[in-house]
């Protein structure tokens, strides 16, 4: 207790990771290509682009939007999107009177299949504490001002639901293709710390 400064130099995490993989391979408990597959999935296949496709579809197709708000897991699956940490997704629609923002105060739960790996700030003790106690101040730091008369809903995903914020469709996007709309949907807008981009930006 209180003697952390006297302990030996800790082993570097890359050494610890390699030692673990080495032992598990040696014992036949893990396959190199299976580890490679996980890295590939997160580096190349899943990420905020998945969530953006879901949001763009909801903007373009009112019936899909209805299905998304009723059962987001099933709606995402229509687009082939789902998996671990996306087993139970709830979509939260922003509107003129309501702005939603998501945090996990107890750890860093996040809808991986829709948004990929959470950014470092989402996992930081500061965001996790301040998002529930002073959310407007936090959003200001992201450049987002929520007027006092708009209800700010902060969702703490402390159990088994993962939340996806559906940002408002920006003005001036009438007639855009789903592909074009997808490019307007940022990661931050689906966490609720930002808005969707307007075509001008």
């Amino acid at each position: 207790m209180g003697d952390a400064h006297e302990t030996a130099q800790p082993t570097a995490p890359e050494v610890r990771t390699a030692a673990l993989e080495s032992l598990l391979v040696e014992k036949g408990l893990i396959a190199t290509d299976a580890v490679d597959a996980v890295v590939d999935v997160f580096e190349n296949e899943i990420g905020p682009r998945n969530g953006a496709q879901v949001v763009a579809r909801a903007w373009a197709d009112p019936q899909f939007r209805e299905r998304l708000l009723a059962d987001a897991t099933a709606a995402a699956a229509e687009l082939g999107i789902g998996g671990v940490e996306g087993e139970h997704v709830v979509a939260l629609a922003n509107g003129p009177r309501v702005h939603n923002v998501v945090v996990c105060t107890l750890c860093s739960c996040y809808p991986w299949p829709l948004l990929g790996i959470p950014p470092v700030w989402y996992k930081s003790p500061a965001y996790r504490a301040r998002a529930v106690s002073e959310p407007r101040a936090v959003l200001e730091e992201f450049g987002l001002s929520i007027p006092d008369d708009v209800e700010l809903r902060v969702w703490d995903s402390s159990a088994e639901i993962r939340y996806l914020v559906v940002p408002e469709r920006p003005a001036g996007t009438e007639g855009r293709s789903e592909e074009e709309l997808t490019a307007l949907v940022t990661r931050d807008s689906m966490i609720g710390v930002g808005l969707a981009l307007t075509p001008a930006t």
Binding site: P13, V15, T17, V25, A37, V39, I81, V90, W121
Partner: protein, 204 residues
Amino acid sequence: MVVEEDEPPFHAAWEGRAHGLAFASAIAVPGGSSRPWIERMGAAAYLSTSYYEHWLAALEARLVAAGVLTSEELAARQTEITAGAQVPERRDPDAAMFVRSLFQPLDIDDIDGRPPRFGLGDAVRVKRMHPQGHTRCPRYVRGARGTIALVHPAQPLPDTARSDDARVEVFYSVAFSPTELWGDDAEPGAATVLVDLWDSYLDG
């Protein structure tokens, strides 16, 4: 908030490998979810290490606790790696395929559980509590009064996941007013804090 532009999923190769190790094991990594194991690190170690160092600590602890590895084996292998030993390779295309399938839509069966005790709009109070082990009840809502905003289907209660008395419960999104949580220190402006809380955390 410090925000990194164009942040990559992994900031170093080892982070991706550590992430992969947690999913790619031919056996399920024993010991349930990693969160209770991360909490065993203690607050000082937790707060002074990074996200994937938490994962690593949990992986090591779970594999040692399950008897899959020993601490001595780990330490010896770390020494060999530091001295230049390479990580051996083993190929198993089926395992790789299986792992990829975890990141596709999954067929999840509903779990039977007791029906919800509360319905939409019901007033509830979060119990004051001080559990010794892992819990999903954040301190900042303990003792606070809220209102049921969403009712979610039953799932295994993480608090009891590793006990002989593993329970299945429904949980709720409970809406709190910021002044109920923070008193006069609440931030001005219209706001609701919604926290997902399990059935047994709540009193009517």
